[in-house]
Amino acid sequence: MTPSRKREKGLVRPYVVTDGRAHPTRNTFDLVTLVIAATDRPLSGLSPEELRMMRLCRPGALSVAEVAGHLALPVSVTKVLLGDLVDSGHIITRAPVPAAQLPDAQLLQEVLDGLRARL
Protein backbone atom coordinates (compact mmCIF):
# COMPACT_ATOMS: atom_id res chain seq x y z
CA MET A 1 0.00 0.00 0.00
CA THR A 2 1.54 3.23 -1.06
CA PRO A 3 1.04 5.79 1.64
CA SER A 4 -0.76 8.81 0.37
CA ARG A 5 0.84 12.13 0.91
CA LYS A 6 -2.36 14.07 0.81
CA ARG A 7 -4.87 14.26 3.57
CA GLU A 8 -8.22 13.02 2.42
CA LYS A 9 -10.30 16.12 2.03
CA GLY A 10 -13.94 15.94 2.89
CA LEU A 11 -13.68 12.99 5.25
CA VAL A 12 -13.79 14.97 8.48
CA ARG A 13 -16.49 17.57 8.00
CA PRO A 14 -15.96 21.16 9.16
CA TYR A 15 -18.68 21.02 11.82
CA VAL A 16 -16.73 18.27 13.52
CA VAL A 17 -13.58 20.37 13.24
CA THR A 18 -15.25 23.36 14.91
CA ASP A 19 -17.58 21.31 17.11
CA GLY A 20 -20.53 22.88 15.37
CA ARG A 21 -19.45 26.48 15.76
CA ALA A 22 -19.32 28.94 12.90
CA HIS A 23 -18.53 32.14 14.73
CA PRO A 24 -15.02 32.88 15.92
CA THR A 25 -14.83 34.02 19.52
CA ARG A 26 -13.26 37.19 18.26
CA ASN A 27 -13.78 39.13 15.11
CA THR A 28 -10.24 40.28 14.60
CA PHE A 29 -9.02 38.13 11.78
CA ASP A 30 -8.40 39.41 8.32
CA LEU A 31 -6.91 37.31 5.55
CA VAL A 32 -3.58 38.97 6.17
CA THR A 33 -3.66 39.01 9.95
CA LEU A 34 -0.29 37.60 10.92
CA VAL A 35 -0.31 34.83 13.48
CA ILE A 36 2.43 33.02 15.35
CA ALA A 37 2.30 30.19 17.87
CA ALA A 38 3.29 30.69 21.48
CA THR A 39 5.99 28.24 22.40
CA ASP A 40 5.28 27.99 26.10
CA ARG A 41 1.87 26.40 25.98
CA PRO A 42 1.11 22.73 26.46
CA LEU A 43 -0.42 21.09 23.43
CA SER A 44 -2.48 18.56 25.31
CA GLY A 45 -6.19 18.85 24.86
CA LEU A 46 -5.98 20.40 21.44
CA SER A 47 -7.95 18.99 18.54
CA PRO A 48 -6.02 17.46 15.64
CA GLU A 49 -6.55 20.57 13.53
CA GLU A 50 -5.43 22.82 16.35
CA LEU A 51 -2.35 20.69 16.76
CA ARG A 52 -1.60 20.96 13.09
CA MET A 53 -2.10 24.68 13.33
CA MET A 54 0.30 24.91 16.26
CA ARG A 55 2.90 22.83 14.48
CA LEU A 56 2.51 24.98 11.41
CA CYS A 57 2.75 28.27 13.24
CA ARG A 58 5.52 27.46 15.68
CA PRO A 59 8.50 28.13 13.43
CA GLY A 60 7.38 31.58 12.33
CA ALA A 61 4.64 34.01 11.47
CA LEU A 62 2.12 33.37 8.72
CA SER A 63 -0.99 35.15 7.52
CA VAL A 64 -4.44 33.71 8.20
CA ALA A 65 -4.80 33.03 4.48
CA GLU A 66 -1.56 31.07 4.48
CA VAL A 67 -2.61 29.02 7.51
CA ALA A 68 -5.92 28.17 5.84
CA GLY A 69 -4.12 27.32 2.63
CA HIS A 70 -1.52 25.10 4.21
CA LEU A 71 -4.05 23.21 6.28
CA ALA A 72 -6.59 23.00 3.45
CA LEU A 73 -9.33 24.37 5.65
CA PRO A 74 -11.91 26.97 4.69
CA VAL A 75 -10.84 30.46 5.81
CA SER A 76 -13.95 30.79 7.95
CA VAL A 77 -13.24 27.52 9.75
CA THR A 78 -9.61 28.54 10.21
CA LYS A 79 -10.77 31.72 11.91
CA VAL A 80 -12.92 29.80 14.40
CA LEU A 81 -9.97 27.62 15.41
CA LEU A 82 -7.55 30.54 15.50
CA GLY A 83 -9.98 32.41 17.74
CA ASP A 84 -9.94 29.52 20.22
CA LEU A 85 -6.17 29.32 20.11
CA VAL A 86 -5.83 33.04 20.71
CA ASP A 87 -8.21 32.73 23.67
CA SER A 88 -6.16 29.95 25.16
CA GLY A 89 -2.94 31.84 24.59
CA HIS A 90 -1.61 29.38 22.05
CA ILE A 91 -1.62 31.81 19.17
CA ILE A 92 -0.54 35.41 19.12
CA THR A 93 -1.74 37.75 16.42
CA ARG A 94 -0.09 40.68 14.87
CA ALA A 95 -2.61 43.12 13.55
CA PRO A 96 -3.00 43.46 9.81
CA VAL A 97 -2.24 46.84 8.34
CA PRO A 98 -2.41 48.85 11.54
CA ALA A 99 -4.09 51.69 9.74
CA ALA A 100 -4.46 53.85 12.79
CA GLN A 101 -0.77 53.86 13.54
CA LEU A 102 0.61 53.83 10.07
CA PRO A 103 -0.65 56.55 7.80
CA ASP A 104 -1.59 55.42 4.38
CA ALA A 105 0.91 57.62 2.71
CA GLN A 106 3.67 56.16 4.76
CA LEU A 107 2.55 52.61 4.08
CA LEU A 108 2.30 53.29 0.38
CA GLN A 109 5.76 54.84 0.42
CA GLU A 110 7.15 51.78 2.17
CA VAL A 111 5.47 49.48 -0.32
CA LEU A 112 6.79 51.57 -3.17
CA ASP A 113 10.32 51.57 -1.76
CA GLY A 114 10.15 47.84 -1.23
CA LEU A 115 9.00 47.22 -4.77
CA ARG A 116 11.60 49.51 -6.24
CA ALA A 117 14.30 47.74 -4.31
CA ARG A 118 13.36 44.56 -6.14
CA LEU A 119 14.06 45.98 -9.57
Binding site: L31, V75, R94, D113, L115, A117, R118
Partner: protein, 205 residues
Protein backbone atom coordinates in the same frame (compact mmCIF):
# COMPACT_ATOMS: atom_id res chain seq x y z
CA UNK B 1 2.06 11.84 11.03
CA UNK B 2 2.37 15.58 10.92
CA UNK B 3 5.92 16.58 11.40
CA UNK B 4 6.91 20.09 12.19
CA UNK B 5 7.59 22.14 9.13
CA UNK B 6 11.12 22.29 7.98
CA UNK B 7 12.63 25.55 9.07
CA UNK B 8 12.46 27.00 5.65
CA UNK B 9 12.92 30.72 5.58
CA UNK B 10 10.78 30.89 2.49
CA UNK B 11 7.73 29.56 4.24
CA UNK B 12 7.68 31.81 7.26
CA UNK B 13 7.81 35.52 7.62
CA UNK B 14 10.79 37.23 9.09
CA UNK B 15 10.33 37.66 12.77
CA UNK B 16 10.66 41.40 12.37
CA UNK B 17 7.69 41.75 10.06
CA UNK B 18 5.01 43.85 11.68
CA UNK B 19 2.84 45.02 8.84
CA UNK B 20 1.03 43.18 6.10
CA UNK B 21 -0.29 45.07 3.10
CA UNK B 22 -2.66 43.66 0.55
CA UNK B 23 -3.04 44.23 -3.16
CA UNK B 24 -5.51 42.51 -5.45
CA UNK B 25 -4.67 41.14 -8.85
CA UNK B 26 -7.92 40.73 -10.72
CA UNK B 27 -8.85 39.61 -14.17
CA UNK B 28 -10.78 36.99 -16.04
CA UNK B 29 -9.75 33.39 -16.45
CA UNK B 30 -6.55 32.74 -18.32
CA UNK B 31 -5.52 36.35 -18.30
CA UNK B 32 -2.34 35.65 -16.39
CA UNK B 33 -3.14 36.17 -12.71
CA UNK B 34 -1.51 32.97 -11.60
CA UNK B 35 1.57 33.68 -13.64
CA UNK B 36 1.72 37.23 -12.37
CA UNK B 37 1.40 36.24 -8.72
CA UNK B 38 3.75 33.33 -9.22
CA UNK B 39 6.37 35.51 -10.85
CA UNK B 40 6.47 37.89 -7.91
CA UNK B 41 5.76 35.64 -4.96
CA UNK B 42 8.53 34.40 -2.71
CA UNK B 43 6.40 31.45 -1.75
CA UNK B 44 4.97 29.12 -4.30
CA UNK B 45 1.62 30.65 -5.12
CA UNK B 46 -1.02 29.27 -2.86
CA UNK B 47 -3.76 28.23 -5.09
CA UNK B 48 -6.43 25.64 -5.29
CA UNK B 49 -7.40 23.95 -8.37
CA UNK B 50 -7.99 20.63 -6.84
CA UNK B 51 -10.19 18.28 -8.67
CA UNK B 52 -13.02 17.66 -6.38
CA UNK B 53 -13.59 14.31 -7.95
CA UNK B 54 -10.63 13.08 -6.02
CA UNK B 55 -12.32 13.75 -2.75
CA UNK B 56 -15.67 12.67 -3.98
CA UNK B 57 -14.63 9.98 -6.34
CA UNK B 58 -17.39 7.53 -6.82
CA UNK B 59 -15.84 4.63 -8.52
CA UNK B 60 -18.87 2.48 -8.34
CA UNK B 61 -20.50 4.29 -11.21
CA UNK B 62 -22.95 6.00 -8.98
CA UNK B 63 -25.61 7.67 -11.01
CA UNK B 64 -25.12 11.29 -11.74
CA UNK B 65 -21.65 11.68 -10.37
CA UNK B 66 -19.44 9.48 -12.38
CA UNK B 67 -17.05 11.28 -14.65
CA UNK B 68 -17.98 14.65 -13.37
CA UNK B 69 -14.91 16.71 -12.89
CA UNK B 70 -15.52 19.50 -10.53
CA UNK B 71 -12.73 21.81 -9.66
CA UNK B 72 -12.54 24.75 -7.47
CA UNK B 73 -10.57 27.71 -8.50
CA UNK B 74 -8.55 29.66 -7.13
CA UNK B 75 -7.53 32.40 -4.98
CA UNK B 76 -4.04 32.91 -6.21
CA UNK B 77 -2.13 34.03 -3.29
CA UNK B 78 1.42 35.25 -3.20
CA UNK B 79 3.75 36.98 -0.79
CA UNK B 80 6.54 39.51 -1.12
CA UNK B 81 8.62 40.55 1.83
CA UNK B 82 9.34 44.17 1.09
CA UNK B 83 11.38 45.07 4.13
CA UNK B 84 12.20 43.79 7.56
CA UNK B 85 8.92 45.14 8.80
CA UNK B 86 6.67 44.95 5.80
CA UNK B 87 5.18 42.12 3.81
CA UNK B 88 2.95 42.50 0.79
CA UNK B 89 0.31 39.91 -0.04
CA UNK B 90 -1.06 39.57 -3.53
CA UNK B 91 -4.48 38.02 -3.95
CA UNK B 92 -5.43 37.01 -7.43
CA UNK B 93 -9.10 36.48 -8.10
CA UNK B 94 -11.34 36.16 -11.14
CA UNK B 95 -13.45 38.88 -9.59
CA UNK B 96 -15.99 38.75 -12.33
CA UNK B 97 -17.90 36.37 -10.20
CA UNK B 98 -20.65 37.83 -8.21
CA UNK B 99 -19.20 39.07 -5.05
CA UNK B 100 -18.83 36.57 -2.35
CA UNK B 101 -17.94 37.05 1.24
CA UNK B 102 -14.42 35.95 0.60
CA UNK B 103 -14.08 38.58 -2.05
CA UNK B 104 -15.28 41.03 0.50
CA UNK B 105 -12.70 39.90 2.97
CA UNK B 106 -10.06 40.03 0.31
CA UNK B 107 -11.00 43.51 -0.73
CA UNK B 108 -11.34 44.90 2.74
CA UNK B 109 -8.10 46.47 3.69
CA UNK B 110 -6.67 46.15 0.21
CA UNK B 111 -4.66 49.13 -0.93
CA UNK B 112 -5.90 48.77 -4.47
CA UNK B 113 -6.15 46.44 -7.40
CA UNK B 114 -4.24 45.69 -10.53
CA UNK B 115 -6.54 44.68 -13.37
CA UNK B 116 -4.89 42.31 -15.80
CA UNK B 117 -6.32 42.52 -19.29
CA UNK B 118 -5.84 40.78 -22.60
CA UNK B 119 -6.48 42.86 -25.71
CA UNK B 120 -7.86 39.89 -27.54
CA UNK B 121 -10.53 39.45 -24.93
CA UNK B 122 -10.86 42.92 -23.61
CA UNK B 123 -14.55 42.76 -22.89
CA UNK B 124 -13.95 40.00 -20.40
CA UNK B 125 -12.30 42.57 -18.17
CA UNK B 126 -15.26 44.93 -18.25
CA UNK B 127 -17.27 43.32 -15.53
CA UNK B 128 -14.55 43.14 -12.94
CA UNK B 129 -13.55 46.74 -13.65
CA UNK B 130 -17.14 47.80 -13.21
CA UNK B 131 -17.29 45.98 -9.92
CA UNK B 132 -14.14 47.59 -8.65
CA UNK B 133 -15.59 50.97 -9.58
CA UNK B 134 -18.88 50.20 -7.92
CA UNK B 135 -17.12 49.32 -4.75
CA UNK B 136 -14.66 52.15 -4.83
CA UNK B 137 -11.51 50.08 -5.11
CA UNK B 138 -8.82 52.12 -6.89
CA UNK B 139 -7.11 50.25 -9.68
CA UNK B 140 -4.55 50.38 -12.45
CA UNK B 141 -4.76 48.36 -15.65
CA UNK B 142 -1.95 46.18 -16.89
CA UNK B 143 -2.33 44.72 -20.35
CA UNK B 144 -0.64 41.37 -20.15
CA UNK B 145 1.42 40.88 -23.24
CA UNK B 146 0.49 37.76 -25.12
CA UNK B 147 2.49 36.85 -28.13
CA UNK B 148 0.43 37.07 -31.24
CA UNK B 149 -1.98 39.49 -29.68
CA UNK B 150 -2.49 42.57 -31.77
CA UNK B 151 -1.08 45.71 -30.30
CA UNK B 152 -3.19 48.79 -30.02
CA UNK B 153 -2.28 52.36 -29.30
CA UNK B 154 -2.64 53.11 -25.62
CA UNK B 155 -5.20 55.75 -26.42
CA UNK B 156 -7.41 53.24 -28.13
CA UNK B 157 -7.23 50.84 -25.20
CA UNK B 158 -8.00 53.72 -22.85
CA UNK B 159 -10.97 54.60 -24.98
CA UNK B 160 -12.15 51.02 -25.07
CA UNK B 161 -11.81 50.59 -21.33
CA UNK B 162 -13.25 54.03 -20.67
CA UNK B 163 -10.41 54.81 -18.30
CA UNK B 164 -10.18 57.98 -16.32
CA UNK B 165 -7.30 60.14 -17.45
CA UNK B 166 -5.45 59.49 -14.22
CA UNK B 167 -5.90 55.72 -14.23
CA UNK B 168 -2.57 54.14 -15.12
CA UNK B 169 -2.41 51.81 -18.08
CA UNK B 170 0.71 49.74 -18.52
CA UNK B 171 1.75 46.86 -20.68
CA UNK B 172 3.46 44.07 -18.84
CA UNK B 173 4.66 40.54 -19.23
CA UNK B 174 3.34 38.52 -16.33
CA UNK B 175 6.19 36.04 -16.73
CA UNK B 176 8.81 38.71 -16.22
CA UNK B 177 9.63 39.68 -12.67
CA UNK B 178 10.86 43.16 -13.53
CA UNK B 179 7.93 43.87 -15.80
CA UNK B 180 5.43 42.62 -13.24
CA UNK B 181 7.10 44.61 -10.46
CA UNK B 182 6.94 47.74 -12.62
CA UNK B 183 3.24 47.25 -13.06
CA UNK B 184 2.77 47.10 -9.30
CA UNK B 185 4.98 50.14 -8.84
CA UNK B 186 2.82 52.03 -11.27
CA UNK B 187 -0.26 51.06 -9.29
CA UNK B 188 1.25 52.11 -5.98
CA UNK B 189 2.40 55.43 -7.44
CA UNK B 190 -1.12 56.03 -8.58
CA UNK B 191 -2.45 55.16 -5.12
CA UNK B 192 -0.01 57.67 -3.67
CA UNK B 193 -1.38 60.44 -5.82
CA UNK B 194 -4.78 59.94 -4.33
CA UNK B 195 -5.37 61.50 -0.99
CA UNK B 196 -4.93 59.37 2.03
CA UNK B 197 -8.64 59.30 2.71
CA UNK B 198 -9.45 57.61 -0.54
CA UNK B 199 -7.49 54.56 0.24
CA UNK B 200 -9.90 51.94 1.37
CA UNK B 201 -7.15 50.48 3.39
CA UNK B 202 -8.02 52.76 6.23
CA UNK B 203 -11.66 52.01 6.22
CA UNK B 204 -13.04 49.30 8.32
CA UNK B 205 -16.60 48.29 8.04
Amino acid sequence: MDSAPASDGQVYLRTTVRTAAKLLVVGHFAVGKTTFVGTLSEIRPLRTEETMTQAGAVVDDLAGVNGKTTTTVAMDFGRLTLSDQLVLYLFGTPGQQRFTRLWQDMTRGALGALVLADTRRLQESFDVMGRLEEHGVPYAVAVNHFDGAPSFPQEEIREALDLLPETPLVVCDARDRISATRALIRLVQYLQTRTATTSIAQERV
